[in-house]
Subunit: 316 residues, 2 copies
């Protein structure tokens, strides 16, 4: 075990931050360290916290961390939300709440959006989760904003997803729920002291009852919270625990771990295979002809891709 | 030229809708038709309209269509936004405004979110744009929500991106601009009759002046609009025209077309190569051993992927 990997296994947060930065930059040295850490991963309970901007995810997260710490659990946070407190975009109150946690050795918070590059977020996020997992954090929360490809990919890689919404968000944001509805294991109606909170709960319940899917055994709870003063946070943590227990008892906890590793592996194969295929092509006249025909629209991209892939052979 | 492709080239909207549905379902028949259409693409001016939910993109879009039609341009719309009017999540006023357009032969609007599947949106979106391009629409607008991998990929594939924001959106949404700032060619401050509009314009101008990038020749304009009654829409369409002219004069219009085709081709190669690699592996004992070691964490996903990719050979 090399020095950096050892430090990270011992919980050294500076070493972990250095490694995550290497991984963000796709540095081979980072991958080498992550390989050494890998056998020590697979123990964390991984949560997703998602919802549109402005619903109070950051404030809720600050209180969630407090409650997890009360229960003697170490908490890691990977914030994929560009508006998360770490990146400086949040309200002063959240920054103060978070500062309390940053002085706690049992809490480690990393934002994946500070470097300004948005591409490849889901890959780097998964790598950061592996690092925090190896460090021994019991609970890892991935905070994402909105709904899109990133969120769906992140949801596929966590054990439990909580979707946060608000009363009175207006038609446009209500419509987003159609996408978020599919990925939620737990639903949170925040700012539940505002008018219309019970209406949102009723609407969600109705939509959830109509939701079709193979996983009919788990009935997603809808938790009302007032994040600003911590109301409902204990109930929310209880709901996370209940879902974890459900996953363990049904064997789905291990299934999701296996599926996550397999998908990550498959994604790596895709990227490495593409690099290998394209790296060796530039000097070949046949490839240059193909690209010329593509650019001049003499050949369509599907036919061009089929031509190239036809020449690929794979043995193991 | 087969029947379906011919109908689409003649502008038949029902045939186009059928084809886009086939492409959403990844049906080989859809790809065959798209191949036939491909030589007829590459003529449209492709715009991206993006911003957080609630900023009034749909209302703005309805007025934009009217103004483009005034200028005798045929307009296609691909709405990647789940809250777009087509999917039924929008305000009644927008639906009425859109209905007027749906009865106009020179307008074609497709939503990519009605089917409820969120994965692979950016690929299907590009395919839908190709279909509309082949149909002869002069302007194609891609409407997306929020900021994420999808938006960045969409921004990479359009000629001109307009980013819409609002006065007084609060800290959290302001922070999102950091991501949106990078991809905007034109910025729109909608609801500019609300207090604080000039402050947002000033902030944006300041942030844009600090924006670093190779493309220093184009100074992104900031347009104030009141979408609900169409104020500023003429100026916005003028800004789109000015950016188009800038792209054409500097050769960037063709460059972006070429880059878009190349990236689409590269993406297809990645997907087809992965399918080819994995399709033939399941029966191989060596592969099954590799997966067993992966699942039991005896081998890490990087090493497993390297092992597999090592055996790939590519000739053309």
């Amino acid at each position: 075990m090399k020095g950096e990997a050892k430090k990270i296994l011992q919980g050294n947060q500076l070493a972990a931050a250095r490694l995550i930065r290497l991984l963000e930059d796709a540095e081979p040295k980072g991958i080498q360290i992550l390989k050494a850490l890998y056998p020590h991963t697979g123990n964390a309970f991984i949560l997703g916290l998602t919802g549109p901007p402005g619903v109070g995810k950051s404030t809720l997260l600050a209180h969630l961390i407090t409650e997890f710490r009360q229960r003697d659990l170490k908490v890691g946070v990977v914030a994929v939300d560009p508006s998360s407190p770490i990146s400086g975009g949040a309200l002063l109150g959240d920054r103060l709440r978070m500062r309390k946690h940053t002085e706690d050795e049992g809490v480690f918070i990393r934002s994946m959006a500070t470097r300004g590059h948005l591409g490849g977020l889901s890959k780097t996020t998964k790598e950061a989760v592996l690092v925090l997992d190896a460090m021994g954090y019991d609970v890892i929360v991935i905070e994402t904003v909105g709904v899109g490809q990133d969120e769906v990919e992140v949801a596929e890689s966590v054990h439990t997803t909580a979707v946060v919404s608000l009363p009175g968000m207006g038609d446009e944001i209500q419509a987003m729920k159609a996408g978020l509805l599919e990925i939620g294991d737990i639903f949170v109606v925040n700012k539940a002291d505002k008018p219309g909170a019970d209406d949102v709960v009723d609407q969600l319940r109705l939509m959830l009852d109509m939701r079709t899917g193979s996983d009919n055994e788990w009935k997603p709870p809808i938790i009302k919270t007032v994040a600003i003063d911590g109301q409902g946070v204990i109930e929310l943590v209880d709901a996370f625990s209940a879902h974890r227990q459900y996953l363990v008892e049904t064997g789905k906890f291990d299934e999701r771990n296996v599926e996550r590793e397999y998908q990550f592996f498959r994604r790596l194969v895709m990227e490495m295979a593409a690099d290998k295929i394209f790296d060796n092509l530039d000097d070949l006249p046949a490839y240059n002809d193909l690209i010329t025909n593509l650019i001049t629209r003499k050949v369509d991209p599907y036919t061009a891709a089929e031509t190239l892939v036809k020449g690929i052979q794979c043995k193991i």
